[in-house]
Symmetry: C2
Subunit: 272 residues, 2 copies
């Protein structure tokens, strides 16, 4: 399968990454069905691996999801993670910071929500908003942006050195695809509640966001905490690639059945 990982230090242009890509799969019919069948197997595998992660309790997995509005952050969680035991999987949705949160550095609230050992943590938006929306709206200077890139790298290095594997997915859709998805919400009365006028204001800043994403992806993709640019125009391909990456990451931990407690002699143990 194709690997969409960004190599550390690479300059990149999102306009050179095709959001419509579906790798070796045909975009319709058989290709799509084949991809869906593989994804289903992968999510089954994911569920097994997660039980083992939980049982071991000495590693953690952090998944970061970023992308433009309608790029499919919620949909990814629903599609890829719904088979997982919720006891070992915590989703955190970062919204506009509260007054208390703004009273601290930008990583304060994020650090508190880092996954505990044994857990899969999913960040639906994250500390990366603090070098995206704030930057696009001119709320922070370029100097602060650069400083934050460094702070983020060091923060993620701390997590990584403490046993947390980190996967960061940028859900890459085209401007045309966003238009289609917003129009679907408008035309379907059952989906209108998802709409808010802010989405249209942000859409006007599309190019600025793409630039901010490019800088962020290049500056914060490291070996220990890589970014993947996920082609996300086709939801089924997005789900496949993300499920495949997560399974690979968990397999890479080589989790075994935890050892029996050493202070018990199981051969002579009797239950009264």
């Amino acid at each position: 399968m194709k690997n969409y990982q960004i190599k550390p230090g690479n300059k990149l242009q999102l306009s050179h990454c095709d959001p419509d890509d579906t790798g070796s799969y045909e975009k319709t019919g058989e290709g799509k069905e084949e991809a869906k069948a593989i994804t289903e197997k992968l999510t089954g595998k994911l569920s097994e691996l997660q039980e083992r992660l939980y049982a071991n309790g000495d590693r953690a997995l952090l998944i970061v999801l970023q992308g433009m509005d309608t790029s499919g952050k919620d949909g990814t969680i629903r599609s890829v993670m719904s088979g997982v035991n919720p006891q070992g999987c915590k989703v955190v949705t970062f919204k506009t910071p509260s007054a208390e949160e703004l009273g601290h550095d930008f990583l304060w609230r994020v650090h508190q929500k880092a996954p505990a050992k044994g857990q899969i943590g999913i960040f639906n938006r994250s500390h990366y908003e603090d070098v995206l929306i704030t930057r696009v709206h001119g709320l922070i200077s370029d100097k602060v942006v650069k400083q934050r890139f460094g702070q983020i790298r060091e923060f993620e290095e701390l997590l990584s050195e403490s046993g947390t594997v980190i996967l960061k997915f940028f859900l890459h859709i085209s401007k045309e695809e966003q238009k289609k998805r917003l129009e679907e919400r408008i035309n379907n009365p059952e989906k209108r509640w998802k709409f808010n006028t802010g989405d249209l204001e942000e859409r006007k800043l599309w190019e600025n966001y793409q630039s901010a994403f490019e800088a962020m992806l290049a500056a914060t993709s490291t070996d220990a905490s890589p970014w993947y640019i996920i082609p996300a125009n086709h939801k089924w391909y997005r789900n496949l690639i993300i499920a495949e990456r997560i399974v690979k990451a968990l397999e890479g931990m080589k989790l075994k059945t935890p050892p029996a407690p050493a202070d018990i002699n199981f051969d002579t143990l009797k239950i009264e």
Copy 2:
């Protein structure tokens, strides 16, 4: 289906409740398969209702699980909740309180973990440990136990009046069934890691625990926050009854598709 709800103020004896009960279902063969098929439909329904709960964002559901060791608290979560989108379902496992937690009243750490609007919260053990393990080990007086029953009723009333529906499940197994389950853990090297010597010490206090449970169930089952005594010797029947209760509770909320934002005129809205 049989209703295992405890009516408020009812005295009860757990020895009169059959942990081996499977209602109108035969214990083997067809009865079991039928129950499993119904449970699967219910968990599918549960997943749909949860999406609606999340979308609405004005109600919450709190599920409390209590029971002796090996009674199936973890298994219930895995079996009944694994199809649910983890974005809208948070499981909290309450362990021995930390020094900071002990510096506050017993409901302090619990209140912080109450589910937010739109969420299903699952307590794997809960504030009820503070009238169980503490009581059985003589760490609190009968006077304090009685006081805590009142405090719990008032705390849960606050949650209920604020839009949270509460379901409390006591997983009722027999002493013989616990013996069987502990022996399974001993005899299967893959399961030995789940074992700890403390479990055997607590088992010696079986009768004291049953009395403490009886008092707790009678004192804290209210109309707004009922306890159910779930016959739990048969895991498939336990799953069926719990899934059925949860679906009923969510259906009872009569959740509709949320309204579209009032400040947008969808008829004239154009995406550029």
